[in-house]
Amino acid sequence: MIDQPMIDHAVLERVLGAGLRTGADFAEVFVEDRRSSSARLDDGVVEELGSSHDRGAGIRVVSGGTTGFAHTTDLTERGLLVAAEAASTVARGAGERARAVALAPRPAGPGEVGHDREGGGKAATVALLRRADDAARSAGGQISQVSVTAGSGRRRFLVANSEGVHAEDDQVRTSFSVACVALGDTGMQTGTESVGHTVGFELFDRATPEAIATTAARRALGKLTARPAPSGTLPVVIGPGSGGVLFHEACGHGLEADLVRKAASVFAGRVGDQVASPLVTLVDDGTVDGEWGTGAVDDEGSPRRRNVLIDHGVLTDYLWDHLRAREELRDSSGNGRRQSYRHLPMVRMTNTFLLAGADDPAAIVRDTAHGVYIAKLGGGSVNTATGDFVFGMTESYLIEGGEITEPLRGGNLTGNGPAVLGAIDACGDDFAMGGPGTCGKDGQSVPVGLGQPTLRVTGMTVGGTAR
């Protein structure tokens, strides 16, 4: 709970009024206070604990199609007024005039997001690092190096705008990652595992350090005998969970209204069209309890929502922030997000996932004569204007004669979004969310969740080196 208001109600109203003084038609104040801490074990020792504290305000003023933005670390009324004046210089409207802003009453408090505030403390965190290190090293004598990172952060913000919106949120996120190196006759290989949720220290009720470490170690050890991945186009089966990266890149970014409106997306003008296989129902939902991309409101004060983007292959809607929605006279979908008070909000995904299908995952593999099975995807990226995307396979295997056989070395896959969406010919009943993701766009990073069931793409280009 936020005990004290971050900024007094009357001050917010005066700052918003100042933002509108040059004739602008929208003003917004975003105030943020963020504390984070991290602890790292590497090479067998707890190397360092770090803490950071960041606070400030960003003020946005919109006049027609032009946005002015200024940010400051000075949270006094004077500091906020200076920033409001800087932001309002872009307005070329009706000239000087006083405009009163009446904000809604201060909200009662944020929703049930990351509510357990009782952190485990530094000593408890250090103990978790050591447990993970022990577990990873005891997974096999070929584990030659282990690093473990624990991170936690609390992000409080308030947002108020000239339309009367006044909202607050208080988000707590905790993550834990293990990276292992295994050394064998053919060189070194790596394995990683990360768990992160919008919760406090109770993260470790969901996943133990031992389980996370053992998974990372198993991946590194398994790759010691890996052979080079194939080079060329062949069927690809993607396992449940982290495979959500495929949809994030193949179409998620292309459904962001800011890119759609600039015709910088292959999905522009296609609402109502069949853009994917009928097996595909894609949802972006910022309300899923405890997921990495979850919050009570977005960074413009709009309530988070569950938005169906593709329904049985038919494109139903894009993702919207306040600015883009306002221009189209519709509601925001709750997807206006920003990295910090230093950044302008834009349209971003939250938790994006493909709903479960009806197929038996084992049967999907059994029906694949020759291809690649990807148990864990790494990151990816997309050019939304062309739809061409890549993503990395961090744990993958050959499929031969309907069976998962040998492990493969890492690499990227590439494909074209609309083509791949149409080439999904099987969708399993084993839906799972994947690990915590960090989504980058125009230089801003925000936490996102991903998920999907097992699925098969009839053909994708696998970027290995083997014939």
């Binding site: 020792v45 604990l49 199609g65 946005t67 670390t73 790759k223 050019n383 062309t386 970027g463």
Partner: protein, 458 residues
């Protein structure tokens, strides 16, 4: 202080120097304290369809405090220079010390007598450019990019941005440094169309003041890159020679450089550990990391621990010369720091390359491609973060480019990957172009031809 700073910057530097000195002065007996602080102003303008899409003006500052006691290290930072947050950072860093393990290699840098390079990184006139003039630059950039070719349908973004900043660092071991710098850039991403096909291309120009910026060049490159990709198709899977354009070479060099950091080597995470003095690359390769070279935008007289920057040879005729070190990795290795500490105020010093430069060859890029017969000129890569493993050396990235057959262009290609390993690629270099270009990130890179790379496509 090296080059005399103009009065205003000198005053800001003096203020920051006093602030970090006041933190360091609080070091208790037996305790080492390092403080780093920075402040700056920045502007960014985005133009879209002849209007300002957004204009951001900001002032920001931050402080980082590192404490070492009994061989244990703790760190804390704040995104503000407010006195209560600076005090909180020192208290938090001290508290964090209690939970870390002792390591006798921990400790702050000590003065080593190396004189800092005389570098002039600040153009004070940048601070006097009006917002209206910056807006005009962004609008002009968009206008140029959209008027060069009828196939350009518009921009995704056309940006002018700049920053002017100062920083200071002090340690209880006796290092006191401060400096200021300015940078500005324009960058444009265009959308080209023909029928249903859309392609993108980006171009930028970077400098220390507005006079350094070449809008025509940035716009021209963006347009060329987009237009030449129209009609691109997926190529057949094959093995071929690739020619990396300078910007792609720079990305490749950055990855190679990161594997030569002392920390990765010490912790068994570098494919090039224990290889000093060996031929690890083609004899054509001469690679240095030199932040004292004023041609690099990453030039800086000091590293992230306050030591004077120096020129470090990494590859000479393909032979590995040594690794990069910060104070910790140097002590652990029984050697001296190479002043390769890389950091911002929000983190402790890591080890890495700061201003890599590959010595150019004697052949121009066109002649180089013609001499190779069949090859793929790679104009852009995608997925370096997901497809390159800096420990195993496995390398697989998405790419776009132009195929050449018998020295003649044979069509643009997309939706492909190129793959090999870092170890093999260094050995498989068959030519280095004469076209060295300094990239926005500060790397100096020419075209680079690498034989026998796996191209995955249809």
């Amino acid at each position: 202080m090296n080059v005399q700073a103009p009065p205003e910057a000198a005053a800001v530097e003096a203020e920051l120097a006093a602030l970090v000195a006041s933190v360091v002065a609080q070091a208790a007996p037996g305790e080492q304290v390092e403080a780093i602080a920075s402040t700056g102003t920045s502007t960014r303008v985005r133009a879209y369809r002849g209007e300002v899409e957004d204009l951001t003006q900001a002032t920001s500052g931050g402080v980082g405090v590192r404490v070492v006691a009994d061989g244990r290290q703790g760190f804390a930072s704040a995104g503000s220079l407010a006195p209560e947050l600076v005090a909180e950072a020192l208290a938090e860093a001290r508290d964090n010390v209690r939970f870390a393990a002792p390591d006798e290699a921990n400790g702050l840098a000590e003065p080593d007598g190396v004189a800092p390079a005389q570098l002039d990184l600040l153009r004070p006139e940048l601070a006097t450019v009006t917002a209206a003039d910056k807006v005009a630059l962004a609008l002009e950039l968009e206008r140029r990019a959209t008027s060069m070719d009828a196939r350009i349908r518009g921009v995704r973004s056309a940006v002018y941005a700049d920053s002017v900043g100062s920083s200071a660092l002090a340690t209880s071991t006796g290092l006191h440094v401060a400096g200021s710098s300015s940078t500005c850039y324009v960058t444009v991403q265009v959308l080209a169309g023909e029928g249903d096909a859309t392609q993108t291309g980006a171009g930028s120009s970077v400098g220390r003041s507005v006079a350094d910026l070449d809008l025509a060049d940035a716009a021209g490159r963006a347009v060329d890159r987009a237009v030449r990709m129209l009609g691109a198709r997926q190529p057949a899977t094959q093995r071929t020679t690739v020619v990396l354009e300078p910007a792609v070479t720079a990305s490749f060099l950055g990855i190679v450089g990161s594997t030569l950091g002392g920390e990765a080597v010490l912790k068994g995470r570098s494919p090039f550990a224990d290889r000093v003095g060996e031929r690890v690359a083609s004899a054509l390769l001469v690679l240095v990391d030199d932040p004292t070279d004023p041609a690099s935008l990453a030039a800086d007289p000091h590293d992230g621990e306050g030591l004077a920057s120096r020129r470090n040879g990494l590859l000479s005729d393909g032979v590995l010369q040594g690794y990069l070190h910060n104070t910790w990795s140097a002590r652990r290795s029984g050697t001296a720091s190479t002043a390769s500490a890389v950091r911002g105020v929000g983190s402790t010093p890591a080890v890495g390359p700061r201003a890599l430069a590959l010595q150019p060859g004697t052949v121009g890029p066109d002649e180089l491609v013609a001499s190779l017969g069949d090859c793929l000129v790679v104009t852009e890569v995608q997925g370096l973060h997901s497809g390159v493993n800096r420990v195993s050396g496995d390398f697989s990235v998405g790419a776009r480019g132009v195929l050449f057959r018998a020295g003649e262009p044979a069509g643009a290609v997309r939706e492909l990957t190129i793959a090999s390993t870092l170890q093999r690629m260094l050995l498989d270099v068959v030519a280095v172009g004469s076209d060295l270009e300094w990239q926005p990130g500060g790397t100096g890179a020419p075209s680079l031809a690498i034989a026998d790379v796996a191209l995955s496509g249809a």
